[in-house]
Every structure is written in C-alpha cells, then in structure tokens.
C-alpha cells in the first residue's frame, strides 16, 4: 500500500521534472526568465525600501530613547545610541502622569476587552440561533448602528447626562457592543456544525448551557481575534480621554499623557510668533519623549507578532460581505 503511494508520488515528481525540462528548453520561456530576474530584483529592492521606511522611524526612536539627552539634541543619532544611558526611562517612569496613565491604560484594556468579548459573544450567539424568533430583527438593529451614528455632540451630551464623563466607565461601557465584532463572531458561529448544538439540546441543555459549554469552547480562535481588535483599540485610544476626561487627572490614559508631552513641541513649531517672542514653553527633551513613545508602544509591539494568525482570520471573515 505504502509503496504504491510512494510510486505514484515518484511518478508525479518525474512528470513535473519532465515538464519543467521541456519548458526550460523552450526558447520563449528562456526569454521570460530574464524578465523574471529583473522582476525579482525590482521586487526585492521595493520590499527592502518598504521595510526600511517602516522600521527606521521606530528603530530611530528606540536609539534616541537610549541616548544621552543633551547629546541627542545635536542630531545625527540614527540606529545606534551614541552615548548610551537608561536615564531617560528613569525620568519618564518617575513622571506621575505617565505611571498613573499606564495603570489606567492597562485597566481599560483588560476590563474593556473582557466586557466587550462577553457582550459581543452573547449577542452573536443569540443572532446565530436559527430558530430564534427575533433573530433577523435583532441582527438588523445592530447592523444599522454600523452605518448611522449620531455624531460627536449628541453623544457627548448623552454621556454627560448618563454621568459617564469624568469617570473611568466612559472607556468601557459605550463601545462594549459593536456591530462589526458581532458580525464577525456570528459568521464564525454559523459555520460551526449545527449537529453539536442539536445533540446538546436533545440532552436537555438550555441555551445558556449551549452557549457556555458547547459553542464558546469552539469559538476560541474568533474570541481571540475580537479580543485582539478590542484590546488594540482600547490601548491606542486617546480621543475619548480628551473629550470626556480632560478635566479629571485621575482618569487620563498613557496615550493622552504622551500626547500632552508631544503636542507642546508641535504647537511651538507651528506658532512661529510664540517662538520668536521667546515665550517659555515647557518642552520635554527629545530623548525623554522618545522613551515615553517607546514605553507606550512596547506592549503591543512585543505581542502582535505572536497573534498574527488571529487577526488574519478575523479580517478575512470580516471582509466577507454581510
């Protein structure tokens, strides 16, 4: 049996090599080879440039963050620190805003992701139940929210009235359920074999039991995907802090604190008048800013290469038209 398989494989290989050799001596193909070589070289150069442009700014920031502050201001630090020091990180970590902001950022990422995961999964499960009476209505209700939104001002007034402004909860409650995440999860759940659920139902399991014990264990990959999307969004978001929690220092996030640090420089550069009149603006040294930037990006940059599989599946499912 095995031999037979091996034989056929060998035959196939022979066939392929024969074919290739035939093609190889076919004159037009030879000309193509030259074209292919040029193509490959150009492609290689393109990819190299692409990677350099993508990586350089990040590596440069890293180098500056480990470089002596006064020395870095002279410019010319590229990919290796000229005068190595860890002082910048010590300065940044000692800043009250940064360390407190980091705690809030971690909290909003963890709590926000868990809440969003639970809510979206449950909603997706309900909408994926083919026997459910209000299935299509509930689905439409959420799909509409993907395309129509009230806009900044009405939303802000709503949050104010709900006492969500100047509070931690504005980070995790309003965005908890999203039409897109629900759809991605629903698509995945609908792809699971229905017999599993039927078998559980025959055994007398109720809907919640099925959700928790039958469907959820099978949905781990898609749960990971959505958790990743939500977590990245939570960690990187800053605009909600600026709109709703600007006044309360105890709830500002790491990103917001970083923005305050960086924008002091931008506004100075833009306002030429401010610079010439010698207004004293409190500017953080470039090396300290670099250190703060690195600290803010580090958690995600360290994690995302290991999670690639998840966001690739998630995007592919999400791209399927509704």
């Amino acid at each position: 049996m095995e031999e037979k398989v091996l034989d056929t494989i060998n035959e196939n290989i022979e066939e392929v090599t024969e074919e290739e050799s035939k093609v190889k001596y076919y004159p037009p193909k030879k000309r193509m080879k030259g074209g292919d070589l040029i193509f490959n070289i150009c492609n290689g150069i393109f990819m190299l440039l692409f990677c350099v442009i993508t990586l350089y700014p990040v590596v440069n920031t890293l180098a500056i963050s480990f470089n002596d502050g006064v020395d870095a201001m002279r410019g010319g630090v590229h990919i290796i620190p000229r005068m190595f020091t860890t002082e910048n990180y010590e300065i940044v970590l000692a800043l009250k805003g940064i360390s407190r902001g980091a705690i809030i950022s971690v909290l909003r990422t963890v709590i926000g992701t868990l809440l969003a995961l639970a809510a979206n999964a449950l909603l997706a499960f309900i909408v994926s139940q083919r026997k459910f009476v209000f299935r299509s209505q509930l689905s439409l209700f959420w799909v509409i929210t993907m395309y129509v939104n009230g806009g900044m001002i009405p939303v802000m007034i709503l949050y104010k009235n709900l006492h969500l402004t100047n509070s931690f909860w504005v980070y995790v409650i309003p965005g908890m359920v999203s039409g897109f995440n629900m759809l991605v999860m629903r698509t995945y759940m609908e792809g699971l074999p229905y017999e599993l659920q039927e078998a559980a139902q025959i055994d007398g399991a109720g809907y919640m039991r099925i959700f928790l014990n039958v469907i959820s264990p099978l949905c781990k990959p898609i749960y990971a995907t959505v958790a990743l999307f939500v977590a990245v969004g939570q960690w990187n978001s800053w605009f909600d802090t600026m709109l709703y929690n600007r006044m309360s220092d105890q709830y500002t996030t790491l990103q917001y604190e970083l923005m305050k640090m960086l924008s002091a420089v931008t506004s100075l550069k833009g306002n030429a008048s401010a610079a010439t009149t010698g207004q004293s603006v409190n500017i953080t040294p470039i090396s300290v800013r670099a250190a703060a930037t690195i600290i803010t990006m580090a958690p995600i940059v360290a994690l995302y290469p290991f999670l690639q599989r998840y966001f690739v599946t998630g995007l592919t499912i999400g791209g399927v038209k509704e």
């Binding site: 193509m32 309900i126 009476v133 009405p154 930037t293």
Partner: protein
C-alpha cells in the same frame, strides 16, 4: 402586508409555545441588548433635533428655543465650513485612492515572493505601524520631518535642497503628508485582505498560463487582478462610507496655525464650534451633514456597482 408576514411567521413557529419558553432566556438578553443599543446608538440620533434648536446648556433639550433651519443656513453661508468640507473630502479621497492602490500593489508583490523565509518577516514588519496609535505615528512623523530630522538630512546630503524644508509650515505639503502618514500606517494591514483573496485564486490558472509562456506581468494582469476584482470593489464601497471620517486624528495632531486653511476637517469644525464655543446646535448640524452625506455616498457607490453588475454590499 406586515400582518400577513407575521401570521406566516407564527405558522412557521407553530410549535413555539414550548419553544418560546425555551427561548425565554434569549428573549431576556435580546431586551437587554436592545435597551443598550437604543441608549448608546439610537438616542444620539434623537439628539439630531438639537440642530433645529438654539440649544443652551442651561435650558437643556426640552426648554431650548426651536429655530428651524437657521443653524443650517448659517453653516452653508460660512466660508470656513465650505473650506472644511473641501479639505475633508479631498483628504479622504486622496487617502482612499492611495491606500487602496498601495495595498493592492504590496499584496501582489509580496505574493510574488516565493521564499517564505523572506516573505513572513516582511509581512510581520508591514503590520507593525498599524498597531501604533496616531499619537505615536504623528510624533514620529514630526521628528522625521523636523529641521534636524532624517528627511531634511537626506535631502541636504543629496544636495536636493539648500535650506531645511519647514514641512509643517507649507500648506501645499499638508495633504501629501497626511496621505503619506496613512500609507505608512495602514499599507501592510490593508494588504492582508487582498493577500487572502489572492491565495484563494485557483493555482491551476497560473500553471496553465505559464505553460502558454506567460510571464510574471502577464499573470498579474490577466489572472491576479481580475481574481481579486470583487474584493477590491466590496472594500472600496465599504471604505467610501468612511470617506468623510478619514483621518480626523491626524489632522488634529499634525495641524497648526500656519496650515489651518488646509488642515481643518468637518470633525475639527464640530469640535471647535461645539465644544470650545459651546454652540452645540451648530456642531450637531455639521455632524448631521456629515452623516447624511456619508450614507448617500455609500448608497451611490453601491448602486453604481449594481449597475455595472459588480459585487456589492447590499
């Protein structure tokens, strides 16, 4: 009509007495989700009525004076608002065109790399910027384009300019900078979906083509591109709805007094009027304009696709 439908439904669920009791828990959760959705997604739409009042914080929604279309009239006679629409629309279009083209080009070229030992690392690197916040990206851009930054250094070393270019003070450069920022951040990420579309193309097509003596370019032109056409169209339609949402954070973070005339977008206008000037009604009116135009654009794009017999969203 609707009663007929519901009776049909009843028939369909004729056994439902028992089934309904079983579905009790689902119905309870449905109520919870509808209440939640109503509060956070539909109630703000009710807030659109504010655009027709002279909303004051003191009097609130119920006691503010109704002023009809006054706010909209002011809006469309305001030269700033017209300029802001132009900026939003132009930057959105530039971003859409360039990010789409670049993502497709990148996906195709990456797919042409056969060695997965090279392909994988490139792909991983290409995702990196997507995971950085706009705060970080604009901060990096600020450094790179500053007078001592790498771009000015290179330009000078190659003798292309004599004096440093003050990138952020030249209005003509602002849109290209914003477009570049989007390209840098999202090319690798946007390419994911095109790459997976490319991998689902039947490989036998490529084999047949190479037997016929087709080169790399021919295969890309005649197999790969037609193969991902429907994906491109669906994504284009989807992203068109976001045309007016495109990049509000970037403009807010990179804009400054010198380039205000080209950097301000509708959202920044809303923010300035609504939040700094406390004219909530005007801010809401501008927001309504944006939402309505977005929906119109997406419907138009969808219908155009339908007319040409292409894949569409709904």
């Amino acid at each position: 009509m609707s009663s007929e439908k519901s009776s049909e439904k009843k028939k369909e669920f004729a056994i439902t007495k028992k089934e309904l009791i079983k579905q009790k828990v689902l119905i309870i959760w449905t109520v919870v989700f509808v209440i939640y959705g109503f509060i956070f997604y539909y109630l703000p739409l009710v807030g659109w009525l504010m655009a027709f009042q002279n909303y004051k914080n003191k009097t609130g929604f119920f006691h503010s004076k109704w002023v009809g279309l006054t706010k909209f009239k002011f809006l469309f006679s305001d030269a700033t608002f017209i300029r802001v629409i132009r900026n939003t629309f132009c930057m959105g279009t530039l971003n859409l065109i360039f990010t789409t083209v670049m993502a497709i080009v990148f996906a195709i070229l990456l797919n042409e790399i056969r060695n997965s030992g090279i392909k994988k690392p490139i792909q991983t690197i290409s995702y990196l910027p997507h995971f950085l916040s706009w705060i970080i990206v604009t901060g990096i851009l600020n450094d790179a384009l500053s007078s001592t930054g790498i771009v000015n250094e290179l330009l000078k070393n190659f003798g292309l300019v004599k004096d440093t270019v003050p990138f952020f003070s030249i209005p003509a450069l602002f849109w290209p900078i914003v477009t570049f920022a989007h390209l840098w951040k999202e090319t690798g990420w946007n390419a994911i979906i095109y790459l997976s579309a490319i991998t689902s193309i039947d490989p036998s097509l490529y084999e047949a083509a190479s037997i016929d003596g087709a080169g790399r370019w021919d295969k890309i032109k005649h197999i790969t591109l037609p193969g991902i056409k429907s994906t491109i169209i669906v994504l284009l339609i989807m992203n068109m709805g976001n045309l007016l949402n495109a990049g509000f954070e970037v403009q807010y973070l990179l804009g400054n007094g010198l380039v205000k005339s080209v950097s301000d977008t509708i959202d920044i206008y809303v923010l300035t009027w609504g939040i700094s000037q406390n004219d909530y009604s005007l801010g809401t009116a501008a927001g309504i304009f944006k939402s309505v135009v977005s929906i119109v654009i997406i419907l138009l794009a969808n219908n155009t696709a339908k007319k040409f017999g292409e894949e569409r969203l709904f």
